[in-house]
């Protein structure tokens, strides 16, 4: 390998690419050099002087975060001289730092506390009165305590470089220096809260977690964020069955540490007081709470009766339930209810893409590919608003590798800030503009294309044909909107396709047809809200069964409402926008609710449907054995990894029904039903936000 250098760190030889910083080289050798301002992946600040090391033949101590490794360099990271220097650094940092650790949220997971402990600093030469500045509230979610701040600039850098928001700055000087928000006395930003997470001390605290708990009192549960399709891993901090906070400090998962406002703060819908905690049955026109056994008995009798008289069923599946539940639901519908009238809210034309990619392998991009690709093309989507993780990945790719991004959207998007070319095209006309980019795209090594819901049907085929004509490897991402939108398609919540895109013999009704059909006897809605915005079922007399978390418009129309669990409350797998399958685990508990899998399992048993044991592991096992592309390695899932489902088979011999694709229109601050019941998202001044605006 060219340009490798070998240096010695604490007696260990380490070989790294030239230009690697000594602090990173040390990490590679398993040596931890402490640092406050240094943050992997962001620009070097060299402000805190904590990472000073001794380098032979250099007269003074060197900051290892700003020192590129060189051939033959001999570095010592814990000599008495270094330890003395670090002690002094901490002593200075503590000059004005209030020692309010007992009431500080950061206590127990504070880097300054850890370092003070590590270097055993009990005394200070400074006897002066500490400089104080009062705490400020910048938004409902972000509080800033300048007295605790050690001016490491981490928050400023993640906001500016990581997200392109640049909402934070540093003003004043000397002991008076402090972080300032972009709107004078408050923040107007993405409210993602990453600044709070990266703060090495308790200067930035979260409006939702402040004074709520100590870090050692909570259980940490690896879950997948239920708000959008990006599939960010979020670690839920759960105490007594309640989610106290959610973040991903251990950088496990495809998102590393990244989360948006919904992932970090939008979990409060779980504990909203309007959560349904008891089944409801319509009695004399009113929904009355009943026991689970009564509700299930009622459903069983009506379903059995409808089956006996050959009645018509329609099943609307969910985009927020697990793959196991979706798979079980379509089995329940097809083998139990004997109907192919099953569909879900489709938010992207995945089917045409899968069909158009026939004969190609390795043509679906992963979230990781967005960081390593040589160029990216975004069509018809406001990535920063609708797919924050994907937007973050592309920005990081541009920051670290200068990989250009090309944008064709109906309005301004944040990617314009750094895009190589930004074209404006009305929704649906994006693909027509591609010729203008041909020469620039052809010159790249490879390309990832991301397209939103406005590109569907024939436009997808034209897009793939354009990609082929470039003569470079092209991968695609069909941007769908909900956490398991992709899983719902793959698991066959479709009237004409079963799991793994296998066509069914007699296609059933799609969603629009179900809504318009006047003669349905039973409409089964498992975790969706098709009646949102005043829509109605044309079948006025249909018996409506709804699994739902809240009394949505659809639940209000129901004859039976079964209170179901949110994704955070159950075990299972979900498939993200890039087709990556990840495992999510149950964190909080809400009394009276059941998972959709349990509900369907109990009903299947009482109805005598022989559709398999309703246990998550058993159903996953069946999925892995029978659904094409889903034979994902279990160890990857078990260890919290993401395994891309290779669903490509091409040649899907059915109409993709692109007219059934409707984008959710969700922004950074909304997420359909769940977002509506998140008070925290609703109270933000930035909410609900708009797409495609400067």
């Amino acid at each position: 390998m060219a340009n490798m250098v070998t240096l010695t760190i604490d007696g260990k030889p380490v070989t790294v690419p030239a230009g690697t910083l000594v602090i990173d080289a040390a990490k590679q050798a398993g040596i931890d050099i402490p640092a406050f301002c240094y943050y992997e992946g962001f620009s070097v600040q060299a402000a805190c002087r904590m990472c000073l090391v001794e380098v032979e033949k250099m007269p003074k101590l060197q900051p290892s975060c700003a020192l590129p490794a060189a051939e033959g360099m001999v570095v010592h990271t814990e000599t008495p001289k270094v330890v003395e220097a670090r002690k002094s650094t901490i002593e200075f940092l503590l000059t004005n730092h209030p020692l309010d650790c007992p009431v500080c949220d950061k206590g127990g997971e504070c880097e300054l506390q850890d370092m003070t402990f590590r270097y055993g600093l009990g005394e200070s030469q400074f006897l002066e009165i500490k400089h104080h500045a009062d705490e400020k509230q910048w938004s409902p979610l972000v509080f800033y305590d300048p007295a605790r701040c050690i001016l490491c600039y981490r928050c400023i850098r993640v906001c500016d470089e990581g997200l392109g928001v640049a909402a934070l700055g540093l003003s004043y000087r000397g002991v008076s220096a402090e972080i300032i928000p972009n709107k004078g006395d408050h923040l107007e930003c993405d409210e993602c809260g990453w600044c709070i997470d990266v703060c090495p001390v308790g200067a930035l605290t979260s409006g939702t977690y402040r004074y709520k708990s100590r870090p050692w009192e909570m259980n940490y549960v690896p879950a997948i964020c239920t708000h959008c399709s990006n599939g960010c891993k979020t670690t839920l901090s759960v105490r007594n069955g309640e989610i106290i906070r959610s973040n991903n400090r251990d950088r496990s998962g495809i998102n590393g540490e990244f989360l948006c406002v919904k992932g970090r703060f939008g979990f409060d819908f779980v504990h909203n007081e309007e959560r349904l905690q008891s089944p409801l049955i319509r009695k004399d026109g009113k929904l009355e709470p009943v026991s689970w056994s009564e509700a299930l008995k009622f459903v069983v009798s009506r379903v059995r009766e409808t089956i006996e008289r050959n009645g018509k069923f329609a099943v609307i599946g969910s985009t927020r339930t697990t793959n196991e539940e979706n798979f079980y639901l379509q089995k329940f519908a097809r083998q139990g209810l004997r109907t192919n009238n099953i569909d879900h809210h489709r938010s992207g034309d995945v089917i045409t893409l899968v069909d158009a990619l026939a004969g190609r392998t390795d043509a679906l991009a992963t979230v990781g590919d967005l960081y390593t690709c040589d160029a990216a093309l975004v069509l018809g989507a406001d990535l920063a608003q609708q797919h924050p993780l994907l937007a973050y990945q592309l920005r990081a790719n541009w920051r670290h590798h200068r990989s250009p991004v090309f944008v064709v959207t109906p309005g301004p998007v944040r990617e314009d800030q750094y895009a190589a070319r930004s074209l404006r095209a009305e929704a649906g006309g994006e693909v027509e503009r591609l010729e203008e980019l041909r020469e620039e795209l052809k010159a790249r090594q490879n390309l990832v294309v991301l397209y939103g819901a406005s590109v569907k049907g024939e436009a997808v085929r034209r897009l793939v044909a354009f990609g082929d004509s470039l003569g470079i490897p092209v991968k695609y991402v069909c941007l769908v909107d909900y956490v398991n939108s992709r899983g719902a398609v793959d698991m066959g919540l479709l009237p004409h396709l079963g799991p793994g895109y296998k066509p069914v013999e007699i296609p059933g009704m799609h969603l629009d047809a179900m809504m318009a059909a006047p003669d349905l006897d039973v409409i089964w809605v498992a975790g969706a809200n098709p009646l949102e915005g005043g829509r109605e079922f044309a079948s006025k007399n249909a018996f409506v069964i709804v699994h739902e978390l809240f009394l949505t418009e659809t639940a209000q129309r129901a004859d039976v409402v079964l209170p179901s669990m949110s994704l955070y409350e159950k075990n299972g797998t979900v498939t993200n926008v890039c087709g990556e399958v990840q495992r999510t685990k149950a964190g909080p508990k809400v009394m009276g609710t059941k998972s959709d899998l349990d509900i369907l399992g109990l009903l299947a048993a009482q109805l005598g449907f022989d559709i398999g044991i309703p246990s998550q592991e058993k159903v996953l096992d069946e999925i892995r054995r029978t659904v094409r592309g889903y034979n994902v390695p279990l160890p990857v899932l078990a260890t919290g990894g993401a395994a891309q489902a290779a669903v490509l088979n091409g040649n899907v011999p059915v109409d993709a029904q692109p007219e059934q694709v409707r984008p959710s229109g969700d922004t950074l601050f909304t997420s359909g039903t769940l977002g509506k019941y998140s008070k925290r998202l609703a109270q933000l001044m930035e909410a609900p936000g708009r797409l495609f605006q400067p």
Binding site: A166, A167, G169, S171, R173, P181, N182, G184
Partner: protein, 160 residues
């Protein structure tokens, strides 16, 4: 907002003198000259300067907070800046400052009610050889004594 033709011409020249993409470099002089003309760095000035130089508002505020010669609030017609750094301190700068406070009846970074005088204790003015030194707006005054300060203030009052 627009500035006077002279200032507009100055800004245009300044912006053109930085290499492409480095227009940000004109931030401090632009703020200073705009302040001289407008009287303070008002919200409109911040907005205008950030728009012209394509920097965020928070970047402008970073600079504003750091440099004490930039002010958000209008100062007096005569802004008295008295140095109390080491050379001036040893030669009576501190007494000079205290004397100015008593004479004008205001404290550090305050303004007389008639808006004529404002006072500020500043760091080194670069005039150690002639300490104690002070500045009235952009004019230097050297080897100051309380008596010379009285005369100076009285003469400025007469100018009104």
């Amino acid at each position: 907002m627009t500035f006077s033709p002279e200032l507009e011409a100055r800004f245009a020249k300044m912006i053109a003198s930085y290499p492409p993409g480095r227009q940000k470099g004109a931030l401090i002089p632009m703020l200073l000259y705009a302040q001289d003309e407008v009287g303070a760095v008002t919200d409109e000035v911040i907005e205008e300067v950030s728009r012209r130089l394509n920097v965020s508002r928070v970047e402008v505020e970073e600079v504003l907070g750091y440099y004490t010669m930039l002010t958000r609030e209008p100062r007096g017609k005569y802004h008295l800046q008295i140095c109390t750094n080491i050379s001036c301190l040893l030669t009576g700068g501190e007494e000079l400052f205290q004397h100015a406070c008593r004479k004008l009846g205001i404290g550090n970074r305050e303004k007389t009610p008639d808006g004529q005088f404002s006072l500020e204790e500043v760091e080194c003015l670069g005039a150690c050889s002639w300490a104690p030194a002070m500045q009235v707006n952009y004019d230097f005054h050297y080897h100051m004594t309380p008596e010379k300060l009285d005369q100076l203030i009285d003469s400025l009052r007469k100018l009104q």
